[in-house]
Amino acid sequence: MNIALTIMIDGLTYASWLFIVALGLTLVFGVLKILNVAHGSFYALGAYAAASLVGWFASMQLAPELSLIAMLLAAVGVAVIVAPLCERGLLRIFYGRDEVLLVLVTYALFLILEDVTKIIWGVNPFYLSEPYALFGNVDIGKQSYVGYDFLLVIVAIVVGFIVWWGLNRTRIGKIVLAVIHSEEIAASMGVNVSRIYTLAFGTGIFLAALGGALTAPMISVQPGISVGVVILSFAVVIIGGLGSIPGAAIGALIVGIARSAAVHLMPVAELFSIYLVMAVVLMFRPEGLFQRSQARKI
């Protein structure tokens, strides 16, 4: 019983940050039809920016609680600075090309951003553990859990709700949904599709960076953190369905709990389990659990 609870809570925590990140990936795919290999790099940028900003706040003797604001600002900063550069400066050149070609363009962007982070922040790891201790520990049953983890869950729920509300209840959100459904029809109705692209891409990057900023206190921020995140978020959106927001939530939960179960019950299957689910979904239900885009050819 206890072990089941531990698995659920661990899985939920893992699923939370993964959901935030994957939500960004699926949004970018839904609107721009681009599967962004560099998505993990924006996660890393968020983590690094958070490390710098939190460190700066700390050096100015600001209250530790404000480090949360720092993380949020870091994510916003990354989105505001990097997203337009990437979308307008780079991706725009390749719009309309083959979908696999666009994946390769984002792969090139991933390579570039890997080194850009090394150039800006160096190769040594950053540790920002103070925020992780902000919420103390929570005891449930015989297990002690870190309070920060529950913050992640709350943030994930809030983010999910905001995105859902933004898409379904605001005017701009409905325009975005129209573009997701059919860009041609939306354009013919006078929608400025290129601005919607920028908005969606910026939001997607913000979500990736937010995921990175929030998890930065839990990891050592160093070169290479992007690499694992890319493949994990790919697994989530494939399982949930490319372009589907509920899919991102369900996919993240499945990956989070599968991994958590493996870690606690059969550690040898930790990574294997996630990618096995991804492969199985692709083999038997390639459009994912919440169908949005068309999958196999024949």
């Binding site: 780079l90 070609l101 994946v103 962007l109 990574l271 692709l282 999958a295």
Partner: protein, 334 residues
């Protein structure tokens, strides 16, 4: 104005005219490379060996690209071939380089076979993602397999050839010679394949699948076959790489490794088989010199290079010298 019918046979004839000389040139090049290898320094021997072994994997991807799909998971067959060779060496006592290499290719084909027909039903991103996920499943298995060294992998000793173990100063050349010969022969075989009826119909499938089906061929069968050919080359490349490196690790199956193979394939394009090995050598040169001089910017260079190729040379560097493609590009500009 109107050309006579003999012009069309001359079009076909001119394509045939350089086919057999190209084969002879290829064989001559292999021999020339073997001879040159006797005099070049060891580090260059090693670099070219690795470039050729990796190039084999990319050649497999080009075969698939030429039938319309891109595999983002060739790390799987690279690792399968590599681990097969390393395990055969360590656990079964098989030390012959040729046997290990061909065996690596064979193991990769056998273990990929269950997926060939299934994956051949996918296109675009989904083909790429399925191949990627399969390679990551293998990675997940390898990284936790303590019996195979886990995340550190394990080492492999020096191979023999026809029963002879080379002296220390000859071992690099032995690896080089085996790799150049095998990859050279594979390249020639691929060249023949591209010019064959099956090769032409594969190329047509990339262009218009519906028509290929209505003309009576199965595109699924074409792609599945190409997938297995790519698996053989990838597995053999993995075995050759392990022999040269003396070490195998799960990273062989990681997605970033697969990404590099795709990088080389895109750089080369599917119009020339030689372009694949040129592109692979370029990558190895950049990688080797970078670790000495610019360790924090070489990926940046690669990324920019890839973008430039996609933007300005979307058909790859092979299109620079293939006559057929030049005409096409002229036609498009007109």
């Amino acid at each position: 104005m109107t050309m006579t019918t003999s012009s069309s046979s001359s079009a076909a004839a001119s394509q045939n005219a350089y086919f057999y000389p190209a084969l002879l040139l290829g064989l001559g090049s292999i021999i020339a490379l073997l001879l040159i290898g006797l005099v070049i320094p060891k580090w260059l021997l090693f670099l070219v060996t690795i470039a050729a072994a990796n190039g084999l994997v990319s050649l497999g991807i080009v075969i698939l690209m030429r039938s319309g799909v891109v595999s983002f998971g060739q790390g799987m067959v690279f690792a399968l071939g590599g681990y097969a060779a390393a395990l055969a060496y360590g656990k079964l006592g098989i030390t012959d380089a040729l046997v290990l290499s061909l065996g690596g290719g064979l193991v990769a084909v056998i273990l990929s076979a269950p997926f060939a027909y299934l994956i051949a039903r996918y296109r675009g991103i989904f083909f790429a993602m399925l191949s990627l996920s399969l390679s990551m499943v293998l990675y997940g298995i390898l990284i936790k397999s303590e019996s195979m060294g886990g995340s550190d992998g394990f080492n492999m000793g020096r191979p023999t050839l026809f029963g002879i173990r080379a002296a220390d100063e000859w071992s690099s050349y032995l690896n080089y010679a085996v790799t150049i010969t095998l990859s050279g022969l594979c390249t020639l075989a691929t060249y023949i394949y591209f010019n064959s009826t099956r090769g032409l119909v594969s190329l047509a499938a990339r262009d218009n699948e519906i028509r290929v089906e209505y003309l009576g061929s199965s595109v699924q069968e074409l792609i599945a076959t190409n997938y297995l050919l790519a698996a053989f080359m990838g597995g053999m490349g993995g075995a050759l790489a392990v022999i040269a490196l003396g070490h195998i690790e799960p990273n062989f199956s990681y997605w970033t490794t697969s990404g590099e193979f795709v990088f080389v394939s895109i750089l080369a394009g599917h119009y020339s088989v030689i372009a694949v090995f040129i592109a692979s050598t370029v990558l190895e040169i950049v990688r080797s010199f970078s670790s000495l001089y610019f360790p924090n910017t070489w990926q940046l260079v690669l990324g920019l290079f890839l973008l430039a190729v996609i933007r300005f040379l979307p058909r790859g560097i092979g299109s620079l010298w293939e006559k057929r493609v030049k005409k096409q590009q002229q036609g498009e500009r007109a």
